[in-house]
Symmetry: C2
Subunit: 479 residues, 2 copies
């Protein structure tokens, strides 16, 4: 373990942060708003932390796998601290804990906010909020596609859970070249969405901010009432499409663009993702019709946006789903827990795992009918090993256990069950909005400091796929 | 598959039912109450159904494993129909669906009741309600200790999930002799509890009814306000002890009585059961103190009774836990889902599975620290195979999935989330009371027919350990 090498790489991440804080500063400078000084100070502090190891540590090109892991995880945690500086220095609604919560929420692309009045923020600070999402999204792609699969023997324990088996076997992501190309897809999606949102009537500033938040499946908006404030069907349709795309494995998106055989149209996981989303939309639409909205078109409009928003763990809102009937709430909670595909910027349990569970269950039931038969679990034409199934299902139960424990802690702090459960589900899934006190058009401002600290930890736990964070606390594995 | 042999055995079960209906009739006859005619008619119908195959089918001593399975499962389902006859003929609060629900609830030892006024029932009908629990309890012991482990090759799929690995490996339950001895333990526990309850002030009638409901972990009471109506600490303590004992593997209880080395004091699963229960009681006591009860002794009294009652899936109540804080409700819901030991009359997921999951999770985390090491999962000095872990964890997720689907169906019928979820958890776990509309001192009378039908099915699903019922629908496996 070469600590200086690790510091040098973390420094480079800090410089990336510094660059975006500087852009935010320029925006505030242009508007002559109250974000200027906080952003300038934050830029200088972050810049120094970034430059220091870069100057004193000699360049190293080779990075061991475990070092790579530490670089990404520590970068994430340090970014959360440095990223909160602009909020803390700006003040306003931000206390120390709230600034940290907003920052963790930004980098983990959760998008849960403690702000009552987002629109009161200076433009530079608003841009910095969205930038955290976008940087976090890059971090996720690097973490999931390079770091997790590279953890040597621990790969057996981690990557088999972290990466879609499709991805693991059909793509060679670990080369930097490939990663760069994937990041081009990430940038490309963002650029395309900015253009479309601008065409459909957003200001350039709003378009960039919302594109950042969509592609990273983050969910921070520049408006108090999120996407509802634009009240525009074309904008909502654009965002639905880009949210859905951002929930797909980025490598798969790339291979689709380059017309490879393995693409989003042949992938069984994407097919499951698509069908599950459609079923969810249909169920919620039927439930809303007559109960919340009188017309079918309205029911479909709000159901489709909210279902896609939560299933991709973006968390944008075009309606207040807190007042929807329990059936719709449960469906949306299910999607908040299942989430979208591994290898995307989305959070949560990942539907790959749910898909593997369903396949394994089908196999188990077939075994009841044909006790003698050996029934392999297949996805596409790949056989999933017992070992993978075992850890996938174990992960699901562990995920649900953590969900339960965090819910329990929040109820112990005095919150009601729906708020506690949905806030936990929304935070561990990096989705953002829940129900009850933390509904889709509401925010986390009323929660106490202990609750916000628990939820910050839960957001990081979810983002680093639980075991990714647990690994940090296992001293023995670093020898 | 010899249908006539199966019918003969089912007939014997019907005769057992008929015998208890006759006793119930005698009680009603003694009291000259309105239960006489309904019970007499039901007795005659059940008797005929029982005697018919006994007369016409020659005696067969050998029973194939699959036939044994069909005998038990079909006996259960037929008993539920015949058992509802006395209710249906008596009328009162019973409609067709409600009578069937009460009967399913009785035989599956769920103890969920649709009655608002239990005390208005004639004594004979009351005794029949408790008898269904007691007969159901015998059925569970036979099903879990003989039938499931005997399903030939399907044993690999079923019994490894159904039976505590301890039981599977250390006891030879399948001999009838051994089973008879275990039933003696069952009868012995019942008799002992009757004596103690009588000593502590219950009438003989109440003592017998409550002993039946305790040892079968059923929960039907002869009083509207369940155990609360006696308001007696010695009675509550007696019931706590017998509920706890009835949650332990009956084979283990027997080997403890005969001073074998494997006993309840050396079993790691019983240790986990004991410790988990204590932790639950402590957490709920602390949560209740100051919020619901002002004294520590009251908090402990109500917490310990309700936690043991739900963790053993008995479902007796000495307080209205519906008004308890969310934290206590969640703890109790956790125990309603985890439940007690395999091989007991308790329902639900069985804590053996939760215990195996926790052990497997510990192994997985150890693997993160020592990627090269092979870490076997052990319980006591037995190694649990990957195969067992796999199906145990798969079962847990499947259980949670069914929990979710049934909750969703109930919310679709218009019920609130807490009622829907807790009613499902209480029914699939064969526990009885939930929260919301179906709280511990409340009942299921306000639910609509579709809801009662869904929950009846869910009770059977839980009682037959899900796969046990699914197997019935798999025509192929019967060829
Ligand atoms: K999000
Ligand atoms: K019960």
């Amino acid at each position: 373990m070469r600590l200086h090498v690790i510091l040098r790489y973390i420094g480079m991440v800090m410089l990336l942060n510094a660059a975006f804080i500087f852009i935010s500063f320029l925006i505030s400078f242009y508007h002559r708003d109250s974000g200027q000084l906080p952003l300038l100070f934050s830029f200088l502090i972050t810049l120094l932390w970034g430059i220091f190891p870069l100057v004193f540590v000699p360049k190293t090109t080779n990075l061991f796998n475990k070092e790579g892991y530490l670089v990404v995880v520590l970068s994430w945690i340090l970014s959360c601290f440095f990223g909160s500086l602009p909020f803390l220095l700006y003040g306003g609604e931000f206390t120390f804990v709230k600034a940290l919560f907003e920052s963790v929420s930004g980098y983990t692309t959760t998008g849960a906010s403690i702000l009552n009045n987002v629109e009161a923020l200076p433009k530079g600070i608003l841009f910095w909020r969205s930038s955290m999402h976008w940087i976090g999204g890059v971090g996720i792609v690097v973490f999931v596609l390079i770091v997790l699969p590279s953890l040597g023997k621990a790969q057996m324990t981690l990557s088999k859970m972290e990466i879609s088996p499709l991805a693991q076997e059909d793509f060679k992501f670990r080369t930097r070249k490939m990663l760069n190309i994937i990041l081009v897809v990430y940038v490309g999606l963002t650029a395309l969405e900015v253009i479309l949102l601008k065409i459909f009537g957003m200001s350039l500033f709003d378009a960039i901010n919302h594109a950042f938040a969509t592609v990273a499946t983050g969910g921070f908006s520049t408006k108090n009432t999120s996407i509802a404030s634009f009240n525009s069907v074309p904008i909502e349709l654009t965002i639905i499409v880009f949210m859905f795309l951002s929930g797909i494995h980025f490598g798969l998106l790339y291979s689709t663009l380059t017309l490879k055989k393995k693409n989003i149209f042949t992938s069984p996981i994407v097919r499951y993702y698509f069908i599950a989303t459609i079923i969810g939309i249909v169920l919620v639409t039927f439930n809303l019709h007559g109960k919340v909205y009188s017309s079918w078109s309205e029911s479909l409009r709000y159901a489709s946006f909210q279902v896609v928003s939560l299933s991709t763990t973006t968390g944008f809102a075009n309606a207040d789903s807190s007042i929807w009937p329990p059936f719709s709430i449960l469906i949306i909670l299910f999607f908040t827990i299942q989430c979208a595909c591994a290898g995307s910027t989305s959070g949560g349990m990942k539907l790959d795992r749910v898909f593997i569970f369903l396949k394994a269950l089908k196999g188990q039931i077939k075994k009841l009918q044909h006790p003698q038969a050996v029934i392999p679990v297949r996805i596409g034409n790949k056989t999933i090993s017992e070992d993978i199934i075992n850890s996938v299902v174990l992960f699901i139960v562990f995920y649900i256990l953590i969900l339960f424990i965090s819910t329990l802690l929040l109820t112990a702090l005095g919150y009601d069950t729906l708020t506690s459960f949905s806030a936990t589900a929304a935070c561990i899934g990096n989705a953002g909005p829940g129900f009850g006190l933390v509904g889709s058009l509401s925010n986390y401002s009323t929660l106490s400091n202990p609750a916000l600290i628990i939820l910050s930890f839960v957001m990081l736990l979810g983002r680093l796929e639980i075991f990714g964070l647990l690994l940090l606390f296992m001293v023995k594995s670093w020898r």
